[in-house]
């Protein structure tokens, strides 16, 4: 390492560099533009993010075999790349959805914080070193704490932000404690160096297990797995809805990126020991999430519990410790990201007219806004795992991995859970399509950016569900570097 920067190193960071530019542009225009034009910052952010996405897709494709760059701080590989593309896509959609939300879409700092958080997520997915990983997690989380509490005058939003901060700070303290123990015993902070240290028996069994559990706590919080899921419903309910959508998709995906990289690369020799632990967490997560989702009256809380349940399904893929399992994790996250963003996008749009998140206020939506109702049908059936939508393929892959790993019991619990899921998603659809309401004359207005976002997402759900081969290839390339 002579201190010179070669082109590979630049390309490895190309998405983050471009994102930094986007944030800078937004900052400048936020100062230059007058208040009535600031809604345009949303177009600027979304456009910049899409441009970043396209440029990265063209120029920054990593080599098939990953390489360590930047003094082994980051790894330039497909796993990181696929996830970065996902985060940027999610952020662009979130920007579009936020534009017409009062007190949010006209605030430059909102967009900047979101872009900075996206940079952090990208670094999380690419980190090859525990120190880098911790910094990336904090870069992601701190803007998200602020975003969750963005409505300073709204009690629920501030509660949401503060709760998220407290939980987040606590779990990241545990996480960094786990990292420090590993470093203390092995003498290395490199994720890839750790594997060798464990193999060589440098770390005694007891502290190893202890620190792995501490790390697991940190990651479980990020992906909202039981028993570290408590924050999710309260934070989602109180946070501005687009932020809740972003938290439940991109942020969760970032957690899973880190989880699979850390456990598959740093602790491969432990995989047989912890696969059962993950399987148990997975069962608890999906069962609890699904059962609690049934009883919710608020759609954001319902989606929060449903997103907990989805974390459980994804953990099924992790618990298999097979290549197909990791492929299914990545694929699931792709399908889940577009689907759940669509679901939250509909909630954002509906709220603008009705100022309500109660499920019963969705009565008669199919008469008030047939297009929006159809998008909701697509999104919710995809969440329920129905073809021809993305969620179906994702679930089939996850359960296939479980069957392949001889964990048929886990697959069976998974499919039984997906029936519970179907039940409460259908209940919401019943409100949308079946029940009548008194204000069917008042149409639900869908703003242009929200319309673009929802059309893109609905199309994406169908594309992932029908033409699933390219996304599967992507997931395969991402997963193959773990083995």
């Amino acid at each position: 390492m002579s201190g010179s920067i070669d082109s590979t190193m630049t390309f490895a960071l190309l998405p983050e560099i471009l994102l930094l530019f986007v944030a800078g542009f937004v900052l400048v225009f936020d100062l230059v533009w007058s208040d009535d034009r600031k809604r345009g910052l949303g177009w600027l952010t979304a456009g910049g993010l899409i441009l970043t996405l396209v440029v990265s897709l063209i120029f920054a494709r990593p080599p098939a075999e990953g390489i360590l760059v930047w003094g082994s701080m980051l790894r330039y590989d497909w796993l990181g790349f696929v996830f970065k593309m996902l985060f940027i896509f999610g952020a662009a959609i979130t920007a579009l959805l936020s534009m017409d939300v009062k007190d949010l879409g006209t605030r430059g700092e909102f967009y900047i914080l979101m872009v900075v958080s996206t940079i952090g997520m990208g670094l999380m997915a690419a980190s090859a070193d525990m120190i880098m990983l911790y910094l990336a997690i904090e870069t992601t989380s701190i803007p998200l704490y602020i975003l969750a509490g963005f409505f300073k005058t709204d009690q629920k939003s501030t509660e949401s932000g503060f709760k998220y901060l407290l939980f987040g700070a606590m779990t990241s303290a545990l996480l960094v404690y786990g990292f420090s123990l590993l470093f203390g015993y092995s003498g290395t902070t490199s994720i890839y160096g750790l594997a060798g240290a464990i193999q060589a028996g440098l770390i005694a069994q007891a502290p190893l297990i202890g620190s792995v559990f501490l790390i697991l706590v940190g990651f479980s919080f990020k992906v909202s797995a039981v028993p570290f899921h408590f924050w999710a419903p309260d934070v989602y309910e109180g946070a501005p809805t687009p932020v809740a959508g972003f938290l439940s998709t991109a942020s969760k995906a970032a957690g899973f990126a880190v989880l699979i990289r850390f456990f598959m690369s740093a602790l491969p020799s432990l995989s047989t020991d912890w696969r059962l632990v993950i399987a148990i967490i997975s069962v608890a997560t999906m069962t609890l999430g699904n059962f609690l989702a049934i009883t919710q009256n608020n759609i954001k809380r319902m989606l929060a519990y449903s997103s907990i349940a989805h974390a459980g399904y994804i953990l099924v893929g992790v618990a298999t410790v097979l290549e197909l399992g990791m492929v299914s994790v990545v694929f699931y996250l792709i399908a889940y990201l577009v689907t759940n963003l669509a679901a939250f996008g509909i909630v954002v749009t509906f709220w603008r007219t009705s100022h309500s998140d109660e499920i019963k206020d969705y009565d008669g939506l199919s008469r008030r806004a047939p297009g929006l109702a159809l998008a909701m049908l697509v999104a919710f059936l995809s969440l329920a795992g129905m073809p021809p939508f993305g969620g179906f393929i994702a679930k089939v892959l996850v359960f296939a991995a479980a069957v392949k790993a001889d964990m048929v019991w886990l697959a069976v619990i998974g499919v039984l859970n997906s029936i519970i899921g179907l039940y409460y998603y259908l209940i919401v659809l019943k409100h949308v399509y079946l029940y009548r309401s008194d204000n069917e004359e008042s149409l639900v207005v869908v703003s242009t950016p929200a319309r673009i976002a929802l059309v893109v997402l609905t199309a994406a759900i169908l594309i992932v569900g029908i033409g699933f081969a390219p996304w599967f290839e992507w997931s395969s390339s991402a997963a193959s570097i773990l083995f």
């Binding site: 008469r367 069957v403 029936i419 179907l422 039940y423 259908l426």
Partner: protein
């Protein structure tokens, strides 16, 4: 390259459904005409397919195969043989007549036809698929529109309950079967979902014995097998007329067909082991279903339970695992599909006019609706297995097959014919020839021309098949040969 007739049949409904969604909701006539045109094309093509199938060559014909996902061996792979060609035709017929019958739907017809057509694509897709993954894909597509169709346009009293019950039942069945299918995929070691390849996988006998009940019963839930038939009469009753027709006419065949294709054909050793037990379940279906039908006072429940009884005969035919039983079951799927569509159409017409389906409150409809009466009587004769109608062609071989397997089962099962006759004759005498209550006398009118076209078409098919069975039996036989080959010529 030959004309991809199967793909066109499969995708015409869903594509026209999407087009219908683009028509503004208030232009209802255009919506209906588009729906009718699309279903007419689908029917026309399925008739063409039926008569172009070459029985001399047999095997899978009009095969199309495109890779869907190379890595996992998933492909879009379709083809027809002697078993599924009649079912494709059946779906075409029910779809066409269903649209005719639904002309009067006035609440959001756009969404109604769109969902109905999505359902139709799912059904066509399952019948023609030769790829296990694809079969599941279309199977689920066929299941979920039912929920909306029943919940939105169904009978107000029970629709929410029935829709949810039906969907959850069917979903449980299909996901259980899905786990079994995944187990087959990995155990075969072939890395493909191609069902023809999997037929040659020779799964270990223990594996087959373990998984057969899950796969077979998982699908047979949709075929209405006892004790998992409970969703079906409730679903029939709550559904709007066209959906009942689809549901009983086609959807239940979907379950039976998938149970055959995936259960029996891929796990033949498991089938041989379990069938003696499964045939006991089907006796309950046949006899108990008929008995329950007899004691119902709601006309639609009568037909609903009669479907359970007749679908029991299909499952019983499969369970014999011999030539006669299989042929009978194959023909019965078609015959019962048309017959029950006819029944539900008639019941719908009566309900639309009288606003009740309670048999004691009805009477004398033959004077007002002569054609409907004739149609119902034809259906009734089919249902009793009267010679000269398709029911005889189907049920006689089934009983022969059962006799060959175990005579006492045939004797017990044949009780159902007597019970069926009793409830059919009771309905005919009371509802059509009894005395019409005064309150109906003024406002009951004959059915529309479109309704008549539908009834004549359905009744005509039942009659033609009855007097000229060679139009279908050799075709089904060629399909059965293939199944028997897999079963080792049993």
């Amino acid at each position: 390259m030959q004309f991809p007739i199967i793909s066109v049949i499969v995708f015409i409904p869903i594509i026209s459904g999407m087009l219908i969604l683009l028509i503004p909701g208030e232009r209802k006539t255009e919506i209906r005409v588009t729906a009718l045109a699309a279903s007419a094309v689908a029917l026309g093509l399925s008739i063409l397919l039926y008569f172009s199938y070459d029985i001399e060559i047999a095997g899978y014909q009009f095969v199309e195969k495109y890779t869907w996902l190379q890595d996992l061996g998933i492909s879009y792979y379709v083809g027809v043989d002697g078993m599924n060609t009649p079912l494709v035709l059946l779906t075409g017929i029910v779809m066409f007549t269903g649209v005719l019958i639904s002309w009067g739907i006035d609440d959001r017809p756009r969404e109604f036809f769109a969902f109905l057509f999505i359902l139709a694509t799912g059904v066509f897709g399952v019948f023609v698929s030769l790829d296990l993954f694809m079969l599941f894909f279309f199977y689920e597509i066929a299941v979920f529109p039912m929920f909306l169709l029943i919940a939105i346009w169904g009978w107000k009293v029970t629709r929410e309950y029935a829709a949810m019950k039906l969907t959850l039942y069917l979903f449980v069945g299909s996901v259980v079967a899905l786990v079994g299918a995944l187990a087959m995929y990995f155990t075969s070691g072939l890395g493909t979902f191609d069902m023809i390849a999997l037929e040659g996988a020779a799964f270990p006998v223990v594996f087959q014995k373990f998984w057969f009940p899950f796969v077979f019963l998982g699908f047979a839930v949709l075929g209405g097998i006892w004790p998992f038939h409970n969703w079906s009469p409730d679903g029939h009753v709550a559904a709007p007329t066209a959906v009942s027709m689809f549901h009983a006419g086609v959807l239940m065949k979907l379950g039976a067909f998938a149970a055959l294709r995936v259960g029996i054909m891929l796990l033949p050793e498991g089938a041989k082991f379990w069938m003696p037990f499964i045939i006991l379940l089907t006796i309950v279906n046949v006899v108990y279903g008929a008995y329950i039908a007899m004691v119902q006072s709601d006309l639609k429940y009568v037909i609903g339970f009669s479907s359970v009884s007749h679908m029991g005969l299909v499952a019983m035919g499969f369970a014999t695992l011999n030539r006669e039983g299989m042929i009978g079951a194959g023909v019965q799927m078609f015959s019962h599909g048309v017959m029950t569509a006819l029944f539900f159409a008639v019941v719908g017409m009566i309900y639309d006019r009288a606003h009740t389906r309670l048999i004691p409150e009805l009477g004398g409809f033959s004077k007002k609706m002569p054609l409907v009466t004739v149609a119902f009587i034809v259906g009734g004769l089919v249902s009793m297995g009267m010679p000269g109608f398709s029911g005889f062609i189907a049920e006689f071989p089934i009983f022969m097959g059962v006799w060959r397997m175990q005579p006492w089962i045939a004797i017990v099962a044949s009780i159902s014919i007597v019970i069926t006759a009793s409830y059919i004759i009771r309905i005919i005498s009371k509802v059509f020839f009894g005395k019409m209550p005064e309150e109906y006398a003024d406002h009951i009118h004959d059915v529309t021309v479109l309704d008549k076209v539908a009834l004549v078409l359905l009744a005509g098919i039942l009659f033609i098949l009855g007097v000229y069975p060679s139009i279908m039996v050799p075709l089904v036989e060629s399909g059965v040969d293939n199944i028997l080959r897999l079963l080792g010529g049993a």
